[in-house]
């Protein structure tokens, strides 16, 4: 089974990416798009494909992969099946940072301000959750909820102070996430941070495996726990912070992806990481395709769909936890 898994997953991902390139608010026949590649430029198909749909597709894949990977690492590190960037308040912190950068004109002066403040916000939120929420599943989740609430309140407050009268309306966009009309330059700004973050997250794989035996055993195996925590936190902050600063808060991908791949790859954390990233990308992109296909006057927000799909799963997870734990 395992040998077929990778080709199958890759094939699925390519398929979804192709569908993503082929769908939009405007229906263009695939032949138009393909002809556009060879016809004299600029032409309609070429413009829509390369300037609008391609950056959006890549961003969806990357952000989904980032969230899936961060979820897998956090679940392994905290040995907690409910851990994910959204639940731990990291996404909300990132959104707060990004909103401050955009609405108070910092982004207009220095485009790099948005991802940087997003990362800063993610880092602060993550630190807060990790330090206050130490010592168990329950405290961590509670602290995460509190930090999420704080981040959300901060976003609302920042937007109340923002000089733009559209801020209140746009707040929903931030708290629900969206990939629509993103540009190459936005992707370019966030990409380096996301890649470094993904690298840091992947580097925790061996330590996560050791941690399944317990903290004391992991230490005796020569794992530096503090270093692992810092790597995981920094990686999450960089990757999720940069991603959120472009897309807004997108929930549940980080929670869902690792759980959905475990039945196929087993429970060893290091083996869950990459498949989670792949699956996160596929999941997010599928949700984004759905936002483009649902025929509403304004595009459905991406976060609405991931939450709609994610919440029932979350309930199922909680019920199962209740059954398995005493």
């Amino acid at each position: 089974v395992n040998r077929l898994l990778w080709p199958a997953a890759t094939l699925l991902l390519i398929l979804i990416a192709l569908v993503s390139l082929g769908t939009g608010r405007v229906w263009l026949a695939p032949s138009t798009l393909i002809d556009g590649l060879f016809a004299p430029k600029p032409n309609l198909g070429w413009l829509i494909l390369t300037e609008l749909r391609l950056p959006r597709t890549l961003l969806g894949l990357l952000v989904g992969a980032t969230l899936g990977l961060a979820g897998a690492v956090l679940q392994g590190l905290l040995r907690n099946p409910l851990a994910e960037p959204g639940l731990l308040g990291v996404s909300a912190g990132a959104a707060l940072g990004a909103v401050i950068a955009i609405y108070f004109g910092l982004a207009a002066v220095l485009p790099l301000a948005t991802p940087l403040l997003g990362i800063g916000g993610a880092l602060l939120a993550g630190l807060l959750t990790f330090t206050i929420g130490r010592g168990g599943t329950l405290t961590l989740i509670l602290t995460g909820a509190a930090v999420s609430g704080l981040g959300g309140a901060g976003v609302a407050l920042a937007l109340n102070f923002a000089p733009s009268p559209y801020a209140a309306y746009e707040m929903t966009i931030w708290m629900l996430g969206s990939l629509s009309e993103r540009t190459w330059s936005q992707l370019g700004l966030a990409l380096p941070f996301m890649l470094v973050g993904i690298g840091l997250l992947l580097s925790t794989a061996r330590a996560l495996d050791a941690l399944t035996l317990g903290e004391a055993q992991a230490t005796s195996l020569g794992i530096d726990l503090d270093r692992t925590r810092i790597l995981a936190l920094a990686g999450t902050a960089l990757a999720v912070g940069a991603a959120t600063s472009v897309t807004g808060v997108i929930g549940f991908i980080g929670l869902l992806a690792p759980h959905l791949v475990r039945p196929f790859v087993g429970h060893q954390p290091s083996r869950v990481l990459l498949p989670s990233a792949l699956f996160g990308g596929a999941l997010l992109l599928s949700a984004d395709i759905a936002t483009r296909l649902i025929p509403t006057a304004q595009e459905v927000k991406l976060g609405v769909l991931t939450s709609l799909a994610g919440t029932p799963f979350f309930f199922w997870l909680v019920l199962r936890l209740r059954r398995t734990s005493p």
Binding site: P42, L52, S164, P165, Y166, E181, S185, Q298
Partner: protein
């Protein structure tokens, strides 16, 4: 969305239109009211044009920016109100210009103070501007002045009609927040009078429909109009409006217009249309090439 927000601002923060069953009991209006209070931004500006400042009790706090754009200095020394009931008691007006969206509490109170309330609709086309000008002119006892302003506006409109192009430009007012003004909006009226065709008016869902960048590319308008002014603060929609693709493809085909001139239907709206027609003349005649 933009116009909607504009309306919300203009009519005092989101109050539902009131279904007034007990309405117009034709209140007694003094021949020339001396303490006129306006509770709506568009009425503010008409009032400033029609009566001397001494006869104005107050205008809304929202008017200042638009007044600065359209008739600089006209509101100097005029008191402001925030459209709330207490100010009616405090200012004791002898005429209140309200809109169908004005707060019902304020209007009930006005009835008790004994000040006549004249309800003025929003003017979203040139016929409505004439109607509203005459209505306010009658209410404040300055009908001849109102007629003069209407004549000036009509003369301007006639000049505009004379310079119509044989092939009207296809344009859209697109500001990046995903909604564009369609039929029944003042912007649509201005575009039509300026001699162009508003492609958003063709969409099925009238008034304000949505337009993504993809749809914009497919529609291939000759020019896109982008509003600016007091709403030009850093925001997501500002970032969207500066989409690099739009800047590149519509280079030389973007027309900036002042939001303030497109919010309220006024005699000056004809001037806004003339400015727009001038801008249209600078747009290349051959369509965009993709």
């Amino acid at each position: 969305m933009k116009r909607f927000l504009g309306l919300m601002l203009a009519f005092g923060i989101g109050l539902a239109p009131q279904a007034d069953a007990t309405a117009p009991a034709t209140p007694h209006v003094a021949a020339k009211p001396q303490r006129i209070m306006s509770m709506n931004m568009c009425n503010d500006m008409m009032l400033l044009m029609l009566v001397p400042r001494e006869r104005i009790a107050s205008i809304t706090y929202l008017a200042h920016d638009a007044v600065e754009t359209l008739m600089p200095g006209a509101d100097r020394g005029v008191a402001i109100n925030h459209g709330v009931a207490e100010e009616i008691l405090q200012q004791q007006p002898d005429l209140i210009l309200a809109s169908p969206w004005s707060t019902p509490v304020a209007r009930n109170l006005a009835r008790r103070v004994g000040a006549p309330v004249v309800e003025v609709e929003a003017a979203n086309d040139f016929e409505a501007i004439r109607r509203v000008m005459r209505q306010i002119g009658d209410a404040v006892g300055e009908r001849p002045r109102a007629e003069t302003l209407i004549r000036e506006m009509d003369a301007e409109l006639a000049r505009l009609a004379a310079r119509r192009q044989d092939r009207p430009l296809r344009v859209v007012a697109w500001t990046g927040d995903g909604s564009v003004p369609g039929t029944g909006t003042l912007t649509d009226a201005i575009i039509t009078v300026a001699g162009a065709e508003n492609i958003a008016a063709k969409k099925q869902d009238d008034s304000y429909s949505s337009f993504s960048v993809e749809e914009l590319l497919v529609a291939r308008p000759d020019a896109i109009m982008q509003g600016n002014g007091r709403y030009d603060r850093p925001s997501l929609r500002q970032a969207r409006a500066r989409h690099p693709l739009i800047d590149r493809l519509f280079a030389g085909r973007q027309i900036d217009y002042p939001d303030a001139a497109y919010t309220c239907g006024l005699p000056q709206t004809a001037l806004a249309a003339r400015a727009l027609a001038d801008a249209f003349d600078r747009i290349p005649r051959e369509g965009p090439r993709w």
